[in-house]
Symmetry: D3
């Protein structure tokens, strides 16, 4: 284990998170946290984005592939839309996202595939409107 | 839709499947099918390997990333071990598989991560013994 | 494997799908597809409705029982509503759908049962309004 | 097995359910049942609230912990919000619910944690508005 | 709600359970229960087999279709094998079980389908050996 | 976020983990790690046991209730057995574990309940043999 502090993981994570999800979104998200949700938001920033996404040896594009496949299978619509947007920022094209969700349809079942395509379309539309 | 026949999808799929899973394994698997399981085996070959894995625009290494992440989340031990072996054949290193399963631990939960690491170790051992 | 082409599976599937889901719905759905979703829609038509639903030896009423039970357990609200409507067209009565979802409550848990009843009621209402 | 009747389980369950979810909510819910949903509602009252929640040897606060953890993992938003409200009535504080959902984030994955926090906040808001 | 007692539900359930799973299996299962597992076994008998499976208006063959589809999706190998055996006793043929699990492969994903076929084959073999 | 380092979280986690799972088990587990699994083991110790289980405001007995309910629903047999053993060390009685798994049967479905009871019995037997 490193001697990195939670605080420095958080700072590192915040920078990655802003690059991937956009500074605007992240700042709005932080401003919206209250006493009840703050620890969850801090952990997500420090552990997901600081400890995991910052690890060397696996590029961001590949990490986005992992998340799209996994979150589609886990059936979590809000997070899936978020990570569709992140995937585009990390260099995946719409055509590649299409290939991922066709594979979801085959291995996680057609309803999982259809739901993922619908949510991706919503995410694309939201990005165009931003 | 293409005018490709089921039969030609099957033939194409069989070739890909042998490249990825090894000719020995695939031939043994086909020989082991009976009247009850034959259609499932044929569909898996024609649709997974023929229709999906043979599509252009997304390389095999990326498809292996999708499957490891997705099948870990779907909690299917037999298929996960199979696709760990396939992933090595498709060019993922053990270090990269480690990164994928650390990400599984964060997004699908620690028990999913721990199970995936244990199954991957079993798969590695089986490959060494082959 | 048959020598049937993807194209003929698609045509066969399209006919079955229109019988089960209604020609209006299916035509609207096809018109709504874009480049991103087209392959998913074609696969769903060719493989679900053409290759699977058209198989002899298992009647459509029985296939609807399978789908209601399975999609309730898989927790996919959009697809569940669609297949509640399809089930009525395939000859299941509301009383039989009730029996299926009571069984879902016992084997997949009370929250799965309650969600399924609520979604079925929404589907019934949408059909009445059509 | 006891010689208790379904009817008396229902009566016992109705009393517990009103204590935990509030008499108003329960009466509205019963009034809203129709022929299609009535058995599900009766079973839920008799078996969940009458047979299970009325068992001695495990207090209601502990049963609420079980349900929050389990329903978060099962990914059932409607029931989760209902049981967040029930948990507060059964003596869990918001700080304790926060601890439960941080644990959900670690063991069921970050998206499950984030979804649970968001739903809990919605439930709190609905209670404040009542 | 009926005025039926838990005890009479249990007796009714025991009779159905013996018809479907075989008297030998059920008696061995009851003899194997201890203080820790007894209530679970009694509830399963009274509520699954007494309250649910004994309801009129949905035949046993249809209930077996529901359970095979649902338990395959729920990923519960022990229960799936048990209900494959029950399904044969309730009049489903091996060819029909094959159709159900092909449908599982399409809607719940190929790994769910393959696992279900393997478990069904194990169940068939165990029945032949009995 | 605290200025605690990963290393100190690991040390704190290691102490808690040994108290809950037994020093023997934990040392054997650490000795069994290799280059492939080491980071997963370290993260589990630092983040599960150091960051989560060490938080004030929620006692270990309550955290064990959360984990039994959640891991039963997540369908992870290895981890469930481990946490059944931990639960006994954290002060839950067998009778209370029975209540938790009856509740699992009602809310996550009878197969989840039956599987959990069987796994708990195996865990009890392993503890008696230790």
């Amino acid at each position: 284990m490193s001697d990195e502090t939670e605080e420095s993981l958080f700072d590192k994570g915040l920078a990655v998170r802003k690059e991937v999800l956009g500074a605007d979104y992240v700042e709005k998200s932080i401003a919206g946290a209250d006493e009840f949700t703050r620890t969850m938001a801090e952990w997500s920033t420090a552990y997901c984005w600081g400890a995991l996404w910052s690890r060397p040896g696996f590029d961001r594009r590949s990490r986005s592939i992992v998340n799209l496949a996994m979150i589609a299978a886990l059936n979590r619509p809000h997070e899936l839309k978020l990570h569709v947007k992140a995937a585009l920022k990390n260099g995946l094209t719409k055509d590649e996202i299409k290939e991922i969700f066709l594979q979801v349809a085959v291995y996680a079942g057609v309803p999982a595939g259809i739901d993922s395509f619908r949510l991706a379309r919503e995410a694309f539309k939201e990005m165009d409107g931003e």
